[in-house]
């Protein structure tokens, strides 16, 4: 506690201008940056999977199951940064038992559960059921028991049953796309609906969150696909990668235009908060907004992907470009979340001053904790890939 007060004292000494005394402490720290980041990765990965399943872009098939498993791994962790950030984490269940319906945040638990249980888990289950039955028959001991349990002791793998699985899976994906939109658009609404904060309060926030989510999720699946294929010493399907890159390019354009529109609108309207936000953007947020999010996370990927649409270098070079771009985009979107969450608390609601952000390496809200929650989904994904290897699955024709 003493250390915490010392930190705040240091921040107090660095306050620029005047801020309300209660604003010295930033209440939403790096863990709340992670929350929209991780849910965005989930929504984006799922939407990539749905491109194959619903929109029949079959060239994306190699990433279909991978995208679903990635979405599941990250979704399982999505609530953890939120809960560990709470002042009273053991009361978190209250949000489900007694939700306050006028609160934008109260619905999160339900949106989350709907998406996890009704959409992702069911879709993956129907997709894997036949394979689980087959693997249960092929293996022995504990693994056999696990597969049998995961298949919920079903054994019917007749063409009729498999066709039914496929049909239900399709229906779930159809429900899943608006659900993915809902999940992340909703996260944007949590911020966009705060009228007290002009940096957050914009009607475009849910849409911006949604498109940036798609960008980050697609980039993540692209990165994981490249890495896993490399680890497995297999050959990358360049046609698939090129198509992912094409969609990434399109969605990145929309994301860029939306964010640009938001800023232009702010500049043109130049409301009461304008000067305060202008100084914020060109001061405390300059590096994270212009360099990390704007230049490295948006402009460079946009220019490169745009060039690749009509000039195609050798496969090897394209692979390297895709690898670097996916990392850049992931970093860029992380800083986009950072700029929203942390940026929105750096200026005073009195518009007369700025506080600064100080974060420790260790502690409940430190860098290490954030890094931990960012690494855990990769651990879960590795486990899922070991248990349910997509490359050992029998190919399902999603054309029905």
């Amino acid at each position: 506690m003493i250390e915490h007060f010392q930190n705040l004292q240091e921040v107090l000494s660095k306050v620029d201008g005047y801020i309300y005394p209660n604003e010295i402490e930033l209440n939403w720290s790096i863990l709340i940056v992670l929350y929209p980041y991780i849910t965005g990765l989930v929504a984006g990965a799922f939407i990539l999977a749905s491109l194959e399943r619903i929109f029949k872009i079959h060239v994306l098939k190699p990433t279909y199951v991978l995208a679903l498993l990635t979405a599941l791994s990250f979704l399982l962790v999505a609530t953890m940064p939120l809960i560990s950030h709470l002042g009273k984490p053991f009361r978190a269940y209250e949000i489900m038992i007694t939700p306050h319906l006028s609160s934008a945040m109260a619905i999160f638990g339900f949106v989350y559960l709907w998406y996890l249980m009704v959409v992702l888990v069911l879709e993956i289950w129907f997709d894997y059921r036949r394979d689980l039955v087959i693997w249960a028959n092929e293996t022995t001991g504990l693994k056999r028991f696990i597969y049998k349990t995961l298949a919920l002791w079903s054994t019917d793998i007749s063409p009729k049953a498999v066709a039914l699985d496929n049909k239900i899976g399709y229906i779930i994906t159809v429900i899943g796309v608006p659900s993915a939109f809902l999940l992340h658009g909703y996260v944007g609404f949590i911020f966009g609906s705060i009228k007290a904060n002009p940096w957050w309060s914009t009607v475009l926030m849910p849409v911006i969150f949604l498109f940036s989510a798609m960008v980050s999720g697609i980039a993540l699946v692209m990165l994981i696909y490249i890495l896993i294929t490399k680890i497995r010493k297999q050959i990358l399907d360049m046609n698939c990668l090129d198509t992912i890159a094409k969609y990434l390019f399109y969605i990145l354009i929309i994301d860029f235009v939306l964010e640009g529109l938001d800023q232009i609108h702010r500049i043109y309207e130049a409301e009461e908060s304008f000067e305060a936000l202008h100084n914020l953007v060109f001061g405390k947020l300059f590096f994270t907004l212009f360099i990390m999010q704007g230049l490295l996370g948006t402009i460079v990927p946009l220019a490169t992907l745009g060039t690749l649409q009509f000039y195609k270098p050798k496969e090897q070079i394209r692979r390297a470009i895709y690898l670097i771009l996916s990392v850049l985009i992931l970093v860029g979107i992380f800083f986009m979340r950072w700029n929203v969450v942390v940026g929105g608390q750096l200026f005073s609601k009195s518009f007369y001053g700025y506080t600064s952000f100080k974060i420790d390496l260790i502690g409940a809200e430190g860098y290490l904790m954030a890094f931990f929650w960012l690494i855990v989904p990769f651990g879960i994904l590795s486990f899922l890939l070991w248990l349910l290897p997509p490359w050992k699955k029998i190919d399902v024709d999603h054309d029905i």
């Binding site: 005047y18 801020i19 209660n22 002042g87 306050h100 609160s103 945040m105 609906s193």
Partner: protein, 255 residues
């Protein structure tokens, strides 16, 4: 005969329709007038409905209110947690504004700008506005923040999960997360004192009686007298929070 009947029922239909339409129009017209009459929300009809008045012209910036609040309510003494604080606004001759609130004004103020450079200077005591359409109550995900029938915004600390959403939603910076309890904390208008017939601590201690509170529903109350006799204003009226903290002599620089 048949025709007559249908004419009658048609006439009745129009008559009823006109009454309903007239009623709705009248209600709408009246309620819009009410909306214009009250800086906050239209007061509730029955019972007490607390409002607060602060006369900026009377505040001398002694900071006793901020101190009394901390002592009365066990607010952490560190200078990052306040239920009540005082700001000093200094507008210089060149038009620049300097706002200060060292330790919430508890230790008083020292003017750092030479007299000859000052255009005007004044103190603004700040506290929870006990808004009738409070954004903090709206966003609380578990309903731990609520408004009492008397119009006081409170937090049930046994119920608050400490998510901090209300802190983000308060436009006035009146909430903080308690460093020990882990829950959000804010001004209660010293409801524990009100219930015993005492004044809130910051009101009682104020040496110039710059603060008053009272029942907005009672036409003879202090607060209504204050509102009648001063040109009052709330902070950030464009946010439509239904603030019930009315300031006399509030400058537009105050935010």
């Amino acid at each position: 005969m048949k025709n007559n009947k249908s004419n009658l029922s048609r006439r009745n239909f129009f008559k009823t329709g006109a009454i309903i339409a007239g009623g709705i129009t009248a209600t709408l017209a009246l309620s819009s007038v009410n909306g214009l009459l009250f800086a906050g929300e239209q007061p509730k009809k029955r019972g007490k409905w607390y409002g607060i008045g602060i006369d900026i012209n009377k505040c001398i910036g002694c900071g006793k209110c901020a101190n009394a609040c901390k002592l009365e309510n066990n607010v952490p003494q560190e200078p990052f947690y306040f239920r009540s604080w005082v700001e000093q606004y200094t507008i210089k001759n060149d038009g620049t504004i300097k706002v200060e609130s060292p330790n919430g004004g508890i230790n008083g103020f020292q003017q750092s700008i030479p007299d000859e450079d000052i255009f005007k200077s004044f103190f603004v005591p700040k506290m929870c506005n006990h808004c009738s359409k409070s954004p903090c109550t709206q966003v609380c995900p578990v309903g731990a923040t609520f408004e009492t029938p008397e119009g006081i915004v409170l937090i049930d600390e046994k119920y608050c999960i400490g998510c901090g959403y209300c802190i983000q939603a308060c436009p006035y910076g009146c909430r903080y997360k308690h460093p020990v309890k882990g829950t959000t904390d804010k001004c209660t208008l010293c409801i524990h004192r009100l219930e015993k017939g005492f004044q809130p601590a910051c009101f009682e201690i104020c040496p110039t009686q710059a603060r008053i509170y009272g029942d907005l529903n009672d036409p003879l109350s202090n607060i209504n007298y204050f509102l009648k006799n001063h040109t009052c204003m709330v902070i950030k009226p464009h946010l439509n929070t239904g603030s019930k903290l009315f300031y006399n002599a509030l400058s537009p620089e105050v935010r």
